[in-house]
Symmetry: C2
Subunit: 267 residues, 2 copies
Amino acid sequence: MRGRRCDHSQVETDTDTDSDTETMRCISCKEEYGTIDAGTCKECYEEASETEEELKREIEDLKAKVAFLRFWSQLDHHHSNRSFGPCFTDVVLVASSDTGSTGSPVPVPANKAVLASRSPVFKAMLENEMEESRSGTIKISDVSYDALRAFVNYLYTAEACLDEQLACDLLVLAEKYQVKHLKGYCEKFLVSKLNWDNSVPSYAFAHQHNAKHMLDAALSLIIDNMDKLTKREEYMELVERDPRLVVEIYEAYLSKQVNTAAQRVLP
Amino acid sequence: MRGRRCDHSQVETDTDTDSDTETMRCISCKEEYGTIDAGTCKECYEEASETEEELKREIEDLKAKVAFLRFWSQLDHHHSNRSFGPCFTDVVLVASSDTGSTGSPVPVPANKAVLASRSPVFKAMLENEMEESRSGTIKISDVSYDALRAFVNYLYTAEACLDEQLACDLLVLAEKYQVKHLKGYCEKFLVSKLNWDNSVPSYAFAHQHNAKHMLDAALSLIIDNMDKLTKREEYMELVERDPRLVVEIYEAYLSKQVNTAAQRVLP
């Protein structure tokens, strides 16, 4: 790691050995090195250190800005069983497939201005005096209460504590309500969890929800293991369910082979 | 600047000259240098470059987060003379000293949830069913319409286009409504504009509005120019208006002299 500074007496001429082999002391790690392992001159080192300090200051400034802009969310203390208290909400979201413990769905309170600010879909819905705007209730189908709560919380705070299931659920909501930042966040998380075992379902999921980055990563992983692909159960299921997606895998594989062959021919 | 990379053939032994003086080529600036100007070893250079790339990625992520969290403000298009359109506002702020062109003050629309999220003073005011919450009108005294508009816009977006007058006006509002982030932003701007000519009024202003960072900077500038202080008109005005502040300047000056003397005595 950088940041360790030393005084400027870094040059130590090794007078005991061969006269044309000098060793120097690195300003950063303070280890001795010979010319073959030389990196930068002193001026560039100092410049780079300044740049690093500037970048760190910029990060601090941006973090403070994020903390300021992060919206106070009435959902933050949900698990503490405290009553919400006044929080200026003017709309509720309801997971229409979720029936909660009492038989009727648990509403997630929110603020029209926040929803409209984060999602062009909510904005159009709420500005245009549609049913949702009049009733003050937005029904959201095929989502659990927990995913809906995490979704609204993200709109307030730009934060979510993801696992793979939640990341999938939130990606679907982010795609549906055009919340690009959340979609990118979920995609990044899911790509980091990609492995051979989940590559085929991940590929199909990414395809279905228009997650380009995840699609490319999953496809690349599949193509690198084509010899094992056809034996997999998920592969056979996909052939049954959506053969066009399987065709796209073969097309990508073929395209890669052609490119590789072309590169071999080139000088 | 960093970022210029080269191949790894950076070592060039200067065989024409004295055998114990080698020159190397800096990986960063590609200039030749001798051992006396050596900076870091190659490993540390590569590590530092990686660190720099990581910091830059973090900055990009944070910038995207800021853009996501920045609130859509109904004031953004004010100067384009477009009508505001629906923007889910539920409260107006009125500059009570400003009478606008029609004789009655021009209200600045806002959202209770945004105000409460950014300022603990607004939060308490709006949660506790005070006059402002019931009437939906918050009167703000001793402020111009332009400053109030910039204030509300900052609460939405964390952005303001400052000049010195506006920075002072916003600092006063930020102090009054406890919007720390805005106060720090204004203080930083005003400190960057500090000079000998404005140092005394800046010092008095910082004192009045509890701007510690600005106060220290102005005081330090004044103390460094004590020989010229008493001739200044602003000094004489300050002696008339608030002699305690002048006493504090002399106390700080004395304290600095004592410290300097003590340091001279120490080995």
